[in-house]
């Protein structure tokens, strides 16, 4: 078997796999079907549909016509369909089982919300329709804004950002605009970012023209207050802090952090990625936050796959509201209105600009509001409670055999380090790969970076106790196997998956980015 430089197998599971242990003629193993690449299914000279040839037309491209083939294979409809259905059957999905990556990737999408988003009145709207014909949709956006402001206690919300990082950028641009308004943009250059932050935080601050100053964590996994006090000064533009943080811990000193930043004249950007752990329990306004994005997929269960479509609305404090980007929503006796252009801006609003062509992701707005209204205020509070309860249940079930990274209870994510694997010859990566053989998608691994060999588990609120127990029992059995010296089971894993372990090193060092015919 081919081995990569760290002694792990690389070859696809064809000759030495599980199952019956014999090689099939087709390469498929029962219902696990071999599927070639699209380029290998179709061919350049094939066409899946019959078109009558069009009338002869004079080219108006002035000699710029394409003369070579574009290199895309032709497939019939069933060929294309089978290709994607076969691939989808090899995939792991939230609809198939517990997904320990948690809400970062996907939590359960209630089907009611899917139904609502497909109502023709919402689903068939065009963003360029006259506003007089989209009053219902605008009213829904108004109602969503009201819920988001009520849940966070904040003054205003910008709905147009399309994702968390886009929301971060929106919030930091508001802070930038506010500093510019105060004439302090030139002197306030520094943004404080904890070292456990989501990587997008420092990237956003840098993109908005600020320099990044890292804050270390203390022994409990939270911001080191002594260092924070040292670093605060008149050149600080603000802080970007996630709460609960990426270690799954509530930043207990958050009020003091906010006060220190405000006293120094800076702004507090809160990364709201983990709002799903505190919704209905903690009012963001009371924490002293000036701007915070809300990932609708994480907290309000909108779908989130393949990078979009997403929505990352940003709630703003009174100090920043006026800088919210175009377009924004207003209402008067004539109904709802989207303010689209700078010349239509009224009052003291000073939008910093526009972030995207239209007003945001309507389909996500419908789903998120559907989620809020079907849960109600008490139900949303219970979402957070159950998310935290489930994570702590796993933490409690696993803590004797695995090693929690920090002492005490966690929020919605349970974080372990690799101390329990020390001396076993099994790494975090091996452990994660072995989970695939057990039928689970691995948890987040090697993040946050501040924890050695990190394993971050977020079960989310919708898992039943039976599901959590099955998962916990599986991890406990793996931990025991590692300690009992069954190293081969880990270093070879995954054995039962459609593909064996890939050679990540070679993939990174010499990636093949284009299909080439043999």
């Amino acid at each position: 078997m081919a081995m990569n430089p760290i002694g792990r197998p690389t070859s696809p599971n064809t000759d030495d796999g599980a199952g019956g242990g014999f090689e099939t003629f087709s390469g498929s193993q029962g219902l696990m079907q071999q599927e070639p690449l699209l380029n290998e299914v179709g061919a350049l000279d094939k066409c899946g549909v019959d078109f009558a040839s069009g009338p002869a037309a004079r080219s108006r491209l002035g000699g710029m016509e394409r003369t070579a083939q574009i290199g895309l294979p032709g497939l019939s409809e069933p060929e294309a369909l089978r290709h994607y259905v076969r691939l989808s059957q090899r995939n792991y999905a939230i609809d198939l089982g517990l997904y320990p990556l948690g809400s970062c990737t996907m939590k359960h999408n209630p089907r009611l919300n899917e139904k609502l988003a497909r109502l023709p009145g919402f689903g068939d709207l065009h963003p360029l329709q006259p506003q007089s014909t989209t009053q219902g949709a605008l009213a829904l956006m108004g109602e969503l804004s009201r819920w988001l402001c009520a849940i966070t206690g904040m003054d205003a919300v910008a709905l147009s950002p399309k994702a968390g990082a886009h929301g971060e950028w929106c919030g930091m641009m508001c802070i930038r605009a506010a500093l510019e308004d105060r004439g302090e943009l030139e002197t306030r250059r520094r943004v404080l970012v904890p070292e456990s932050a989501h990587g997008t935080n420092p990237a956003t601050a840098a993109d908005c023209g600020f320099t990044i100053d890292e804050l270390p964590a203390d022994a409990t996994g939270r911001v080191d207050m002594a260092v924070l006090r040292e670093k605060i000064g008149p050149d600080v533009a603000g802080i970007m802090l996630t709460n609960p943080n990426t270690c799954g811990l509530f930043e207990r000193d958050i009020r003091e952090i906010a006060d220190l930043i405000h006293e120094a004249g800076g702004y507090f950007y809160c990364d709201g990625a983990n709002l799903n752990a505190i919704m209905g329990k903690t009012r963001v306004r009371d924490l002293g936050v000036d701007a915070m994005h809300i990932n609708l997929h994480k907290t309000f269960s909108t779908p989130h796959g393949g990078g979009g479509p997403g929505a990352g609305p940003v709630v703003l404090s009174e100090r920043l509201s006026q800088y919210a980007p175009l377009p924004y929503l207003t209402s008067d006796e004539d109904g709802w209105k989207l303010i689209e252009n700078q010349e239509d801006v009224e009052g003291d609003a000073k939008p910093f600009g526009r972030m995207c062509a239209f007003h945001g992701q309507m389909g996500m707005f419908v789903r998120a509001l559907g989620y809020m209204m079907s849960h109600g205020a008490d139900g949303l509070r219970q979402v957070s409670e159950d998310a935290v309860l489930n994570a702590n249940y796993l933490l409690a079930r696993l803590q004797d055999e695995m090693s929690p990274a920090y002492e005490g209870v966690c929020m919605h994510e349970a974080l372990f380090d690799d101390v329990f694997l020390k001396g076993t010859g099994v790494t975090t990566l091996d452990f994660a790969k072995a989970m695939i053989d057990e039928g689970y998608h691995p948890m987040t691994m090697y993040f946050p970076l501040v924890v050695h060999g990190a394993m971050l588990i977020e079960p989310t609120e919708t898992e039943s106790i039976e599901s959590l127990d099955r998962f916990a029992d599986t991890l406990l059995s793996l931990a025991k196997a590692a300690k009992d010296g069954e190293v081969e089971r880990f270093s070879q894993a995954p054995v039962l998956a459609p593909l064996r372990r890939l050679d990540e090193t070679r993939a990174a060092r010499s990636p093949v980015l284009r299909w080439q015919s043999a």
Partner: protein, 123 residues
């Protein structure tokens, strides 16, 4: 006569007079796993102690390489661009990252020698 120092960021520097060669320790290379990409500093650039001047990316993570002292970058190990695996194969030899001048020798005082570093990574 050159002398080998280590930093708490797991970098080594081999100092010969006013010149130093810098890389990451064998221990650090092992922790990173297979190195897949190295970004080197521009020769001629001056860097302050603690400033990030290079990047090393492995299958597990991307880390910054800091200037362990202040000075001017005098050479960069271009071979790493095509053969980043050299860092894993010979971290404290052929896998050096860059060379720089040492503008203030007193900055060397807080650094560890080989024995102290061996003790440091035991913790």
């Amino acid at each position: 006569m050159s002398k080998l120092y280590f930093t708490e960021d797991h970098e080594w520097l081999n100092v010969d007079g006013d010149n130093a060669t810098i890389g990451i320790s064998t221990y650090a290379a092992g922790q990173l796993g297979d190195v897949v990409f190295v970004e080197l500093p521009d020769v001629g650039k001056t860097a302050n102690k603690g400033e990030d001047v290079a990047v090393v990316e492995s299958v597990k993570s991307a880390s910054e390489i800091y200037a362990p002292v202040s000075g001017e970058i005098t050479a960069a190990n271009d071979t790493l661009e095509d053969a980043p695996e050299t860092v894993n194969e010979d971290a404290q030899g052929k896998g050096w990252f860059f060379k720089m001048t040492v503008s203030d020798a007193s900055q060397l005082e807080g650094l560890m020698d080989e024995a102290a570093y061996a003790e440091f990574i035991k913790e």
